[in-house]
Amino acid sequence: MKEFNSFEEKVAVKKGEVFDVVLESQVVSTGYAWALSSMPNCLNLLEVAYVSTSSSVAGAKVNQVYRFAAVAEAEACLEFSLCRAWEPLNAVQKKVYHVNVSEQESSLEDDLKFSISKDKFLPTDVVNPKVTREQSPVIPYGVPIGVVEGNGQCILKYGVPQGLAKNNENCQLKYGIPASIVEDENNCVVEYGIPLGKSNSDEECVLKYGAPLATNLLYGVPCAKEDAVYPLYKAADSNDIVVVYGVPTLKYGIADATIANASNTDSYCYTPHEFEENENNCVVKYGVPTGIAKDDNDCILKYGAPVLKDNK
């Protein structure tokens, strides 16, 4: 640590450096001690100590050690006054140091890093996401982590999809979670993000992956519409179970509610867990349904979170 005594006049330190000013006095014998009379803002006073000198003679000198930290770049003055504690206005001597606090010299490494630091430019792996495998290009479901365009189709490889191709025929998920809907006369096509709108058209709202709020929901988490139908009745026949909006009512599964009926106490509001496959009926296979086809001939739940796999 740097030390500055009374013979020096300049204090040159780097920002962040701690140093001592050591001043001799005969405070014990004379009562005169060095008081800190003016301290600039670029310094913080950390400690004051009295250190005896080597002499054991009565009235020997004492070193007063003032410890400072340089906290800001500046040029300023540091002043001490020699006075008695009971006569503070009567300073018999002053000692002024010219203080120069300069910035730390940066290393070459820091210097080079500064101009292209991470708060200035995007990380490379954000710009060039790596696709670790390139087989099986078309992955319709899952959690993909990268997207490759090609062959006229939105080929989602790996990663979280972030958008939807505006393709009437082949609603293919391109980039991520759909966030907005393009109003289109013929098709309600979701593009880039969570859909918030719906098609005014009776035509098919083509949304494949996402959380649509629109009519004609094919796959996804259906949300209720004002005229949503929640069938609670027993179907007359196996083809008559059609859920348009809202929580799908399925034929088979574990009952959530039981409808009392004179002829039949079967339960029809179900959370399906596993089912037999039957192509003409509302079929859920292994899982919690997250969407249902509108068409009663094709009421096949396709995308869900598989729970059980055993056929019973």
Partner: protein, 506 residues
């Protein structure tokens, strides 16, 4: 690979009522080979059939073409939204009403500075006409956009222009760099310096909290500067980051000239970039021809030069705007100097030019490599190799970082040099082999990998790992299994450690 065209720019006429000092197309009078109305309407149908969603009608001054509104309507009938870029000289109420009837989406007016500057560049009186037009559009509720071409004449007027545009109700403001093409090629003293790209980006970024107007950096401004990316994201009203993904010319966008010539971008209009003419060949056929637009469709990072060839973003960026490269350097595959990242790296390279302490440089270069700061390591090690071209350690590290940056040619050269100095350098043989594989010479590369593996010891089994993986990737699984045995014999436990690799081998 099939490409879907989504957007484009159509210069419907070369006629213009101005003679702007920076005109990229040197427009004056309509040219005799301009498409007739009938031909142009047919083009509209073809644009619709190709599946474009938007097209910008430009020129010259598109409003000087008498049938512009017919073309706009026909495009709209084909489900293509027509936007118009205009100099605003004849943008009056009647024109605006016609535009609304025709289904025009956005009117973008070119405004290049405050009154004195704009009128100097364009035409006396044009600034006032634009202000009137903006007021009119504001009254009629039409989305007004403004495009400003930046030169050193107007770069200091951005703040003042911003305030005016907000007051006039302008919703969209695109800033683009004036490039030395057309009339501006004779006025290079007006060009911005590359360092001024950051000033423009800083300005745009300062506006991102303002919901009244979206300020866009054009495609020629970038790249991967966080402020620039944030600005793009805000301007696009996007939930996730919007960043430059490479030029869309010939991939998602196209250009159509006044005479039906089809190109990837109307700015890149030399004869060699014209892919066909719609009078002879249907648009779809031109677009779908896999040999067309190859200057961009087949562009890879290693075709570029200078810093763009070595850039860590190169794989995605592919040199930024190709027109910038072409007009600034005369070569479409040259370096893009109007790039914020390029400017920053060049500053670092300049600093290194004053440092000759090889030990210090090696220390820093190696540390950067270890920390994953590959670009910095690359430029530091390049400095070492300039001072001492035979520095073996530097060659090894340079080969490594170049490979990791995707700069396989550079890596190959470094490894080649290492092998010239020391033919049995195990690391260099491995590196050289890997580079050859990346550059399409797998068989030759595998031979070098085999050589490396044969020379290595059980304390460094990486050559075996890389050889096996390369064999698997090249469909030579049986050979890979043989190499596994060899590796196991040399280093018992190798298979255990590399179980995933063993699984890939089958």
């Amino acid at each position: 690979m099939k490409y879907n065209a989504v957007t484009g720019v159509w210069e419907i006429t070369m006629g213009c009522n101005m003679r702007c000092k920076h005109c990229g197309s040197i427009c004056m009078e309509p040219l005799p080979d301009e498409l007739t109305t009938e031909e142009a309407l047919n083009v509209c149908d073809q644009i619709g059939e190709l599946g474009l969603k938007w097209i910008t009608l430009s020129g010259g001054e598109p409003l000087t073409r008498k049938d512009w509104h017919m073309l706009a309507k026909r495009l709209k009938d084909n489900n293509v939204i027509p936007n118009i870029i205009t100099n605003g000289w004849i943008l009056n109420e009647e024109t605006l009403d016609k535009a609304i009837e025709s289904g025009v989406g956005t009117f973008a007016i070119s405004l290049d500075g405050l009154k004195e500057t704009h009128d100097f560049i364009r035409r006396e009186g044009s600034y006032d006409r634009i202000m009137n037009a903006l007021e009119l559009m504001k009254r009629k509720g039409i989305t007004a956009g403004v495009i400003t071409t930046l030169t050193n004449r107007n770069i200091n007027q951005l703040e003042a222009l911003y305030n005016i545009l907000v007051e006039k109700g302008v919703k969209i403001w695109q800033l683009q760099i004036g490039l030395p093409m057309g009339n501006l090629a004779d006025n290079r003293d007006m060009l911005l310096t590359p360092e001024q790209v950051d000033d423009v980006i800083d300005f745009i970024h300062s506006t991102i909290t303002d919901k009244r107007i979206d300020v866009y950096p054009a495609d020629c401004l970038g790249y991967y500067n966080i402020k620039e990316v944030e600005s793009r994201t805000k301007a696009n009203n996007a939930q996730s980051l919007v960043m430059w993904k490479g030029c869309n010319a010939g991939k998602r966008s196209l250009g159509i000239l006044h005479n039906g010539d089809i190109l990837g971008c109307t700015s890149i209009r030399d004869r060699e970039y014209i892919e066909g003419n719609i009078r002879k060949t249907p648009l779809r056929e031109i677009w779908d021809n896999e040999n067309n637009f190859s200057w961009n469709r087949k562009l890879k990072k290693d075709k570029l030069s200078g810093m763009c060839q070595k850039c860590t973003y190169g794989e995605t960026c592919l040199g930024g705007c190709p027109n910038t490269r072409l007009t600034m350097n005369g070569d479409i595959n040259s370096e893009n100097m109007y790039c914020s990242y390029n400017v920053a790296i060049k500053k670092n390279i300049k600093k290194l030019e004053n440092i000759n302490d090889i030990n210090k440089l090696m220390g820093v270069g190696k540390k950067f490599a270890a920390e994953g700061e590959l670009q910095l390591s690359q430029i530091v090690l390049e400095r070492v190799l300039i001072l001492e071209s035979d520095n073996k350690e530097a060659l090894d590290y340079y080969g490594y970082v170049s490979y990791m940056l995707g700069n396989y040619s550079d890596s190959l050269k470094a490894n080649q040099k290492s092998l010239d100095l020391e033919p049995n350098n195990i690391y260099a043989n491995k590196g050289y082999g890997l580079c050859l594989c990346k550059l399409g010479e797998a068989d030759k590369g595998i031979e070098y990998l085999k050589k490396s593996a044969s020379m290595t010891t059980d304390s460094y089994m990486e050559p075996y790992h890389d050889l096996i993986l390369t064999l698997i990737e090249n469909g030579r699984k049986q050979e890979a299994l043989e190499v596994f045995k060899e590796a196991e014999a040399k280093c018992p436990g190798f298979t255990q450690i590399n179980q995933r690799l063993r699984g890939l081998a089958g």
